[in-house]
């Protein structure tokens, strides 16, 4: 439990949608600046999804699938907006005393129609531009997702290349971005864990402060492991990272076990 204790109960209620009024707005303000509580909220929502597992019941009726498929068939993606031309104003017939008012109204309608068509053309141009940007960003996002999915896929083959004839050594790579406290860590060729032990990643602050626990992990059979965005305090400049071998529950406060790998700068 890494979240701030005073918000612990409130976070659970917030996840369930049961927090209202001042309590809710205070917590939402806090969440904006607290990665640790945001992470705990994600975990609580995970716990909520587990509750859903207790509800196994009848499958949805076949008609639900048919209804959905019929509905999506009517809504193809990225529909282009095609405006219907503005209908011409109906001509008035007759030569009554006030017939000229009909012509005036028609002229006004014509001016209005021309104005609307100009606006419409500008909107279509804007929409086309936004659509192109959306597609471009969607394509970049998709590419990024595919890269991340490959990196994190436990089924992906991860082969470390070393000098011919030499034995792979334990190694790790930490990629850390302070501003958003994002951290991605990859390790390879780690020795198998002894019983009741676990590896723990540590961040060493540049200001010389105490090391910060950055996640517990177990490597796979090939000694590979990944840690992605563990809860970290905001704004910490990192000097180095290290991995230690700790008791199964982790040490959390300070590294106690033996150092398995450490950044070249330490």
């Amino acid at each position: 439990m890494n979240a701030h204790e005073q918000f612990a109960d409130g976070l659970a209620l917030y996840a369930l949608g049961s927090l209202h009024g001042d309590e809710r707005s205070t917590l939402e303000t806090h969440l904006e600046g607290c990665a640790s509580c945001r992470r705990e909220l994600e975990l609580l929502r995970g716990d909520m999804s587990l509750m859903a597992l207790t509800t196994a019941g009848p499958k949805p009726p076949v008609r639900s699938r048919q209804r959905l498929m019929a509905a999506i068939a009517k809504e193809p993606h990225m529909p282009m907006v095609v405006e219907k031309p503005v209908a011409a104003a109906p001509r008035r017939s007759g030569w009554g005393l006030f017939a000229w008012t009909g012509w005036a109204a028609a002229a006004a309608m014509l001016l209005l129609a021309m104005s609307l068509m100009r606006n419409n053309s500008a909107l279509v141009r804007d929409l086309t531009s936004v659509t192109a940007q959306y597609r471009d960003q969607g394509s970049k996002l998709q590419q990024a997702n595919e890269i991340v999915a490959t990196l994190l896929d436990p089924e992906a083959k991860k082969i470390e290349l070393v000098a011919a004839g030499s034995k792979p050594q334990p190694r790790g790579k930490a990629i850390y971005e302070r501003r958003n406290h994002n951290l991605i860590f990859f390790a390879s060729s780690l020795p198998p864990l002894p019983p009741e032990k676990i590896y723990e990643l540590w961040l060493f602050p540049a200001n010389g402060g105490a090391p910060i626990a950055a996640g517990l992990f177990k490597p796979d059979a090939r000694g590979s492991a990944t840690v992605v965005n563990p809860p970290l305090p905001e704004g910490v400049e990192a000097k180095n990272f290290a991995v230690t071998l700790e008791p199964e529950s982790g040490s959390h406060e300070t590294p106690r076990g033996t150092v398995t790998i450490v950044g070249a700068g330490e």
Binding site: L43, G46, S49, A52, G57, P58, P60, R67, H77, V148
Partner: protein, 182 residues
Amino acid sequence: MPSTDPKTEASDLALVTEIRSGDQGAMAALYDRYSSIVYAVALRVLQDTGAAEDVLQDIFMQLWRNPGAFDSSRGNMGAWLAVIARNRAIDALRKRRPENNIDDVIVSVEPDMASDAERSRAMEKVRGALDGMAVSQRSALEMAYFEGLTHVEIAAKTGEPLGTIKTRIRTGLLSLRKVLAA
């Protein structure tokens, strides 16, 4: 449900990518994979098959209209849909406008609900954890989760102190996490 369709073997992320390009078959595959979770939780909350079908339709239509709402950083698809289904069903039960945008929901949980085997294994553990809870705790958790009652309403209903109810709900949820991690 077509069993020979390669889409049935595709990953959630691959299906979402295809949905982005308008592939209706991918949408059908995703529906076949997760509609039972969404429908079951909605039915348990709403106790009405028609209303549960509406929630089911609403959620998958939103996913079709905005497949970008889900990416792998939001957790696994089954867990994400389960949470959204529960929230939407509670909104429907309490006749209120949806409080959470689906874009805002990020879920972190261990079992990958795409796999039937893993889902069954997790289901067994979670049910065991619920059965092992004190009746008062299980009841508080179920009232909050399935009836959408606030801690204030639960305290009023049970006569228990507000703080006790809050803690029971949180520790109840945490105990599910623990049993899965064990």
